[in-house]
Symmetry: C2
């Protein structure tokens, strides 16, 4: 990204788990930054963050923070996005929003660059970043969708606690230590901090992420269902999801069953996955090679393995999809959208 | 089980994780024991185990250990069962075997008491106990199979490390502590101790349990597929499984999608599950009540929740099934078969 026109970037939610990854990516990727503005709540204002060797002072995010900003990357919660993103747009910034605030707004593109970057270019000021568990699944399935079509997807997730923020990471670590020390584990954050009941996550599997909707599915599950259709631009793709939080810190894993619209050749499926941008095939069972959350941590790609033919359905296919939920699932997808927009303007 | 003819029982593999649970159940359940014989490898011979306040000395398991034994409960590995079970039968014992040695032998019944106890009564000396992940799924689905028929099952598991024995429990605990202390985690046991590659299980999800077969599925996955058909006595039930080890100590969880043969009423499905023997419906999403591995630990039942209609397929149904893998998944199912055999003889 060198030798390009430099831009002014604001990160809203600069102290959060995703915001910090965004800052780190802007530095690592040599993003063509002229000025970096770090915004957060009043509580964090005045703190400093190192960026390329310089101290950047965090400012309180207000409607007028966005003067002169070209790209505003939001990850400070849905209500902050709803309040401030329109102001950023008013100031001429392109907003790339990592919350769920605008994802299902028909006027706002929901973008995974490898899948539908063309939609991003149609933006009217705001581009939404999909939910973490959706991004990695759609990135991996896109080449199969293009070649064969997809009838249905049945996915069960194995999601890391970092998706629920730093407090959930702390909770997992504290509970783990208490249990190893023979003490009682205290649960205050997961599965949903604002709900009355909290369950132990250490050495457990909690089949609830986000609140329940009336149909018995959670919002997290409905996000995977609805966002997949919107990103692929195809309402006929049927998705069923069961979203589960497990005691992993970074990296979501997904057990995915796909029914294609056409018969397929397994070798071709693996080749298509292997050739897909941003996707890495890790699939050598004989050498015990398959994607693992611990190995995906810190990497930008989506990893796919355990690709195998269903034993009954001729168009059925199983696979295991893993990615770092804070990177491709959040910060990297956001920064990547900005990079692609800038590239297109060169 | 009081006021019954008392029997002589041998536990083979008395020092293992499952063997110890068997001994504990024989005591808790007031199983009608005349004499308890504890058998293990020569290495453990001479150690003592408390049973109803008495010290029982562990003896080395040999072909002649079974004289006078009525019920021999095996859980010392497949090769020991293959070697010694025929000798136990020769001495007149009924063998209930918790290993995979005889499960797919067409001459040997594979039994979950709530599902096919009639098959157990046809035994020719040996009864096989199914794989842990199969037992809980089949127990939960049996009432739906009877009422509606089942076309297909797609299951993704979240399996506890105790299924791989005490060394795997130790490994998870040591790795957890090392990682919390900022040290490197050492992997020597999981996913399969005898294979060359070991992966970290702490804060990870490993999509391999047992070795791989030629079709890309693991043996654990094929066990769920083949054993389900055998237990239900119906080769037309199509099962697809993805078996995953997660950092849980006790309790397997399963995300299960079922396609019934007939349309169903969701309230009736829940009622059928609720009425099923050995199965407990825990399904109040509005109160965040659903089965959890930590809460199933130490209990004999199979817990079912998150029961909900698929959003697309009219005969599709999702649920979350949890049970203690060492109890209903192993020791309890074995002891329960013995109890039922004894009851039938009264």
């Amino acid at each position: 990204m060198q030798n390009q026109k430099k831009v002014n970037v604001a990160v809203v939610g600069a102290t959060g788990a995703v915001g910090q990854q965004m800052i780190s990516l802007l530095e690592q990727r040599d993003f063509p930054i002229n000025q970096l503005k770090l915004l957060a709540s009043g509580r964090s204002a005045g703190k400093t963050v190192k960026f390329k060797g310089q101290d950047v002072v965090i400012e309180e995010a207000t409607p007028d923070s966005f003067a002169g900003v070209d790209y505003a990357l939001f990850s400070a919660g849905g209500s902050i996005s709803k309040d401030l993103a329109p102001h950023a747009v008013r100031h001429g910034a392109v907003v790339i929003d990592n919350t769920s605030a605008f994802r299902m707004d028909p006027e706002i593109p929901l973008v995974v660059p490898e899948v539908n970057m063309d939609a991003a270019h149609q933006h009217k000021g705001i581009i939404a970043n999909p939910n973490c568990s959706t991004i990695q699944m759609v990135a991996a399935l896109k080449p199969l969708y293009d070649r064969f079509g997809i009838d249905r997807i049945i996915v069960s997730t194995y999601q890391a606690v970092s998706g629920a923020g730093q407090s959930a990471i702390n909770e997992l670590q504290e509970q783990s230590r208490d249990i190893l020390d023979g003490k009682e584990a205290k649960a205050n954050v997961l599965p949903v901090s604002k709900l009355p009941v909290h369950h132990q996550i250490a050495y457990n599997a909690i089949p609830q992420i986000d609140v329940f909707t009336d149909n018995g599915f959670t919002y997290e599950e409905m996000k995977m269902i609805n966002e997949t259709k919107k990103i692929l631009g195809d309402d006929t793709v049927n998705v069923s999801a069961t979203c589960v939080r497990i005691p992993v810190i970074y990296g979501h894993s997904e057990s995915v069953y796909v029914e294609l619209k056409q018969d397929y050749d397994l070798a071709e499926v693996k080749q298509l996955i292997s050739d897909a941008p941003g996707v890495v095939l890790q699939d050598s069972p004989e050498e015990q090679v398959y994607p693992l959350a611990t190995e995906a941590t810190g990497k930008l790609d989506v990893f796919v393995g355990r690709v195998r033919r269903d034993l009954h359905h001729p168009r059925g296919l199983h696979m295991w999809i893993v990615s770092d939920n804070l990177l491709k699932g959040a910060a990297w997808n956001t920064v990547q959208i900005a990079e692609e927009l800038i590239k297109a303007q060169q």
